[in-house]
Each structure stands twice: as structure tokens, then as C-alpha cells.
Symmetry: C2
Subunit: 155 residues, 2 copies
Amino acid sequence: MQMKFMRLAVKEALFGVIHEHGGPFGAVIVKKNKVIARAHNTVLKDNDATCHAEVNVVRKASKKLKTFDLKGCEIYTTCEPCPMCFSAMHWANIKRVYYGATLADAKKAGFNELDISAKEMKMYGKSKVELKEKVLCEECLIPFGVFKKRKGKKY
Amino acid sequence: MQMKFMRLAVKEALFGVIHEHGGPFGAVIVKKNKVIARAHNTVLKDNDATCHAEVNVVRKASKKLKTFDLKGCEIYTTCEPCPMCFSAMHWANIKRVYYGATLADAKKAGFNELDISAKEMKMYGKSKVELKEKVLCEECLIPFGVFKKRKGKKY
């Protein structure tokens, strides 16, 4: 684990919130200590409910590596993955996910979260994706702070 | 519910299996009895693990309707949605999903399914997406039959 990758994910999240009025979420995919792809939530920008940061970054990394199989890759994401994003990681054979903020933080910010944690998804689904929580929590909450202050928010 | 929409989803699945050597899954989005979008699984064709039929059809319908909010829309899908696809439907505010084959059928065909049914996703996640199972089961299994007979399959 390297903090610099999570800080890059926070930077992505901030870019989305500040420049695109989007959701406060960012993610980075790393392989052998090299950044393969970075992305933020573009649900509003792209008019597409599937464009969470983690789904976007899986798509970008797959395009770059020219394979749907991202084995050996790790994801750094500012917020605990929702069930859609966790499952996308499972399908892409992502090895490990590091996350900071929690689904409870996302819910507090007004997002209509499904009530299933990443740990529950892993347990119920018997997935091999490894989960590492509480990574740079405070810094991962900064994009939420910027988001909360914005007027005329959309979800 | 109209059977013709599920038959269109089966046709999509067959197209993917026969012409693109892809997974045996198809889906159609309908609003007010009008087809908005149709899609099949393109994981192999697009080198992208998120390209399940249901995610693809949500993306297509959103593009067509120019909104991430697909309220009032229904999905007909040949197979029970996996947790990624169920969650994508939740985020897109899909009203109802009709499905034929089950995740057990997909598992039997060799897919590395997460062990969580659509009903469990709805129950655990407290989602409003309505589920209607066992719609044209036999016809929805036909693409699986074609898939199973193919040599050199990839998953």
C-alpha cells in the first residue's frame, strides 16, 4: 500500500466535484506500483448511472491493458465500493481494494446507497477480492465536504 | 409484461453468442411498451468486465433518453441479474426486472458468479427494484445451450 496512490484518488474526486459538479468519488488502478488508470464519478456529466469512479477506472484500465482480466491490479478508492463497484472488481479479477470513507459517509451525503457493505458483499458472494479499509479516511472525506457545501446538488 | 420483449432479449443473447463468441446474455429496456434499447454481453468483444448485457442496456438507454434516471423503465433480461447488474438497475431507478434463466444456470455454464441472488440483493440492500422471475425460462436457456457447445470458450 502506498499513500500517494490514495492521494491521487482524492485529487480525482476533487476534480469531479469542483470542475464537473459531480459526486465526490475518485479511484486509481495500480499494477506493480505503476498507475494504470485514474477516474472519478461521471454519473451527471455522462448521464449514466453506471459511471461510478470504480466502474470508470476498471473500464479505463481494461482499455489500456487491452484485457477484461485485471488480475494483479489493485484499486485505491476514496469511498467504500457500492455493490455494483465491488462486483465489477470481482468480475475484473481485481486483487485488492483500498478505501477510505465508508458507505455510511456516502449515505450521510445524500446518496441512495444499497444497504450492503463491501465486507458483506465479499462474505455473501464468496469473492476473492481483498478489502483494506480505513486508508487515509480524513483525506478521503475532504471531497464530501466540498460536495456538501455546494448548492443545487444532484444525485 | 409482454413476452415479445423477452423474446427480443433472447435474440440479442443469441446474436452475441453466435456472431461475437460472447457470453449467452441479452437484455432489453422498455418504457410505456416501447423498446428504448437492446444489448447483449460484450465482455470479450470490448475487453471490459463491466459489459454485461444489463449494464450495456442501461448505458444505451441512458444515452438515448439523455438522463441517468430511468424511472418508469422496465428491463427484460434472459438471466437473473448478477449483483453488479442488479445494483446498476437500482442506481438507474429501474422500476421492474423480468428474468428467465437463473444465476445457477450461469454457474452451471462456467461463469464465476458471486453467490448472491437478485432477491437477496433486493432484500439486503432494501432496494425498490421489483423482481419478476421465471419468465420464458426455457427460451432463455437456448443461448446457454449454444454457448455450451462451442469449443475454446472464454469467460
